[in-house]
Symmetry: C2
Subunit: 372 residues, 2 copies
């Protein structure tokens, strides 16, 4: 008997009042009934990448084929990596959908990490102006972050996630067994987002992470399950509170404006998203302390936990402050020309603010670069 | 004093309960207050094409520059034609938006025909997951059809409008003065959609069109105003009744499944959309008569009015029935493999149905080809 936790994401009228479940557990890829109950039509297209395909594609196809109501099942395998999260590669999904005559009743299944989830979700949002999709995140980052909240999209050479849509999945199936095949680096990248939930609004979870970081890094199943569930609960609450990011949802971007600058400046695919966010959180934490909001002790705790998770805490030396700020400028968090950042008042308490001197930003960037 | 008709499109909860006005009148491009009241931020990007730009771009820029709250105004001029309604060309809009650091508060203004409206609306739907846009349709087709209803998107080599989103404009400004620079062919293409409203649900309007077709073709301003307003009222009512095309909205596709086959089969840009729809309506009308639903007299009336509008009533000889049906197969109106068509029970009464023998479809296509 599999142990399944079910969270419900209840969306308000802005999203058509629809709600959908997030399932977290072990052995879920083989759970045909669970998958089948969220596929309305007879047609399925599984979108995955060339890293995940050898590991889990056949498993999910066996599960799909065991469902009596599924009559057609195709797969699209994209190259793995953030650098392929482009309009051009997205078009390959449309090529298959149209070449094989899939109509509006098709359900797309995203099998992979955040890139696959974002691209498949965006393809589902746009194909014939919107078809169903299901998220099966196979990385920790995707399980705790990108698969929850309905953000989908692709990158542009001039900015990350600049082209996209809000499109909610029919369900999210997070099988923690898939985390066993992650590299240590990918696991740590996912833990960055887990730490984020503690920092922005859940001090109790932050304490738990301090106590259980070694178990997470050792992939203890029970600990992973707690971390994924608590992260999804925290994110879901913020998404429900603010589906369109006017307010509280913006807090989820802690470290992201800094992080996006690193990702864009270094070229997509060189830093993992979670790594860039980890360094970005260190920068936001330091800025919060320098601004006089966060205590020195809490700054040290935050940086220490990020470092214990084997994540980078310093920005690349090659990006100087001027270039860094320029790269932050195209970020979506900019409103009418002024840079707004998520900063901390305490561990577990974040705000969105532009209440800081521009010079402070430059100083903090310089302090947080590798050469320093 | 300009004569302005204002229609209100009141959207239900599916679209966030938002409503927006459609303005129809003369001299509206110069009406700064009208435009200004629907631009929330300080930044505007006008998207147009190389046919419309020399005619109306400077005029709209003068109007925008006269607005005190607009601080930045850029333009993107795309090549004119349905063959440029692609993801690649769409990306040029994103290039400008990102290169010039436009943020989420930007308003895009679509100045042109249906292609510009669809692409600009889709760019607005996707840029940073959604920004405001305003429709300023400059063709009759765009004024009576594509600018109303929130459908946006681009074509794919394997199918028309296959990639897109629902995204409602802040307002639609239909200046009938712009119709004076349309070619006769473009004017007729727009009249095809006007006739459609009569056929699907407004027998009284059909009668009016029979009485006033010569005035419309002579571009009589008062008659054009009536035609645009009545078409927008008819379309708006259907869109409000059914924002997501589950039911009544599908009737707006009269002639479109046939028409899309012609457009795709002949290559985008060879037939105008309205021309393909005109021929498609003749095919639907003939099929309705052959099915025993529409009287012979009404079939003759419908074909005669389409012909009087200088529109094609026969499909190209080069597309045989098998190829034609294949091209119809990728259309969005297909549900689980069966072709559903909009057919007529009478002039002013349409239904969506798959209640016909496949052989009848083949016969009607053959009867309606130019060689016959």
């Amino acid at each position: 008997m599999t142990n399944i936790k079910t969270l419900s994401v209840d969306l308000g009228p802005l999203q058509g009042g629809r709600s959908y479940p997030i399932y977290i557990g072990s052995g879920l890829l083989e759970h045909a009934e669970l998958l089948g109950r969220h596929i309305a039509g007879k047609q399925v297209v599984v979108v995955t990448n060339d890293t995940v395909a050898p590991l889990y594609l056949e498993k999910i196809l066996v599960t799909l084929r065991s469902l009596a109501h599924i009559q057609r099942c195709e797969t699209v395998t994209l190259p793995d990596g953030e650098q392929y999260k482009t309009l051009d590669v997205l078009n390959r999904i449309f090529d298959v959908l149209l070449d094989k005559h899939f109509d509006r009743s098709v359900t797309l299944v995203a099998l992979g990490g955040g890139v696959i989830g974002d691209m498949t979700g965006f393809a589902a949002a746009c194909y014939q102006r919107g078809v169903d999709f299901i998220q099966i995140p196979t990385t920790l980052l995707a399980q705790v972050d990108s698969s929850v909240g309905g953000k989908t999209g692709v990158n542009h050479p001039l900015g990350k996630n600049m082209i996209g849509a809000f499109h909610q999945p029919r369900c999210v199936i997070a099988d923690i067994d898939t985390l066993n095949t992650l590299s240590d680096r990918e696991l740590s990248a996912g833990i960055a987002e887990v730490i984020k939930y503690g920092l922005i609004g859940d001090a109790e979870f932050f304490d738990w992470l301090e106590a259980n970081m070694d178990k997470l890094l050792a992939r203890d199943a029970a600990s992973l399950m707690v971390a994924v569930e608590r992260s999804c609960v925290d994110k879901t609450q913020m998404v429900i509170a603010d589906e369109r990011e006017g307010g509280v949802r913006a807090l989820l971007n802690l470290g992201h404006t800094f992080g996006h600058a690193i990702e864009t400046g270094m070229g997509y695919g060189s830093w993992l998203h979670g790594e860039a966010v980890a360094t970005g959180m260190c920068m936001a934490v330091r800025m919060s302390a320098r601004r006089g909001w966060l205590s020195h002790a809490d700054m040290v705790r935050a940086e220490a936990l990020i470092q214990r998770a084997n994540l980078p805490v310093r920005a690349p030396a090659t990006l100087d402050a001027a270039r860094f700020i320029e790269l932050m400028g195209v970020d979506k968090k900019v409103k009418n020309g002024k840079i707004r950042l998520v900063l901390l008042k305490a561990i577990g308490e974040a705000i969105v603010t532009d209440d800081f001197a521009p010079a402070l930003l430059t100083e903090v960037i310089d302090e947080c670069r590798e050469t320093c």
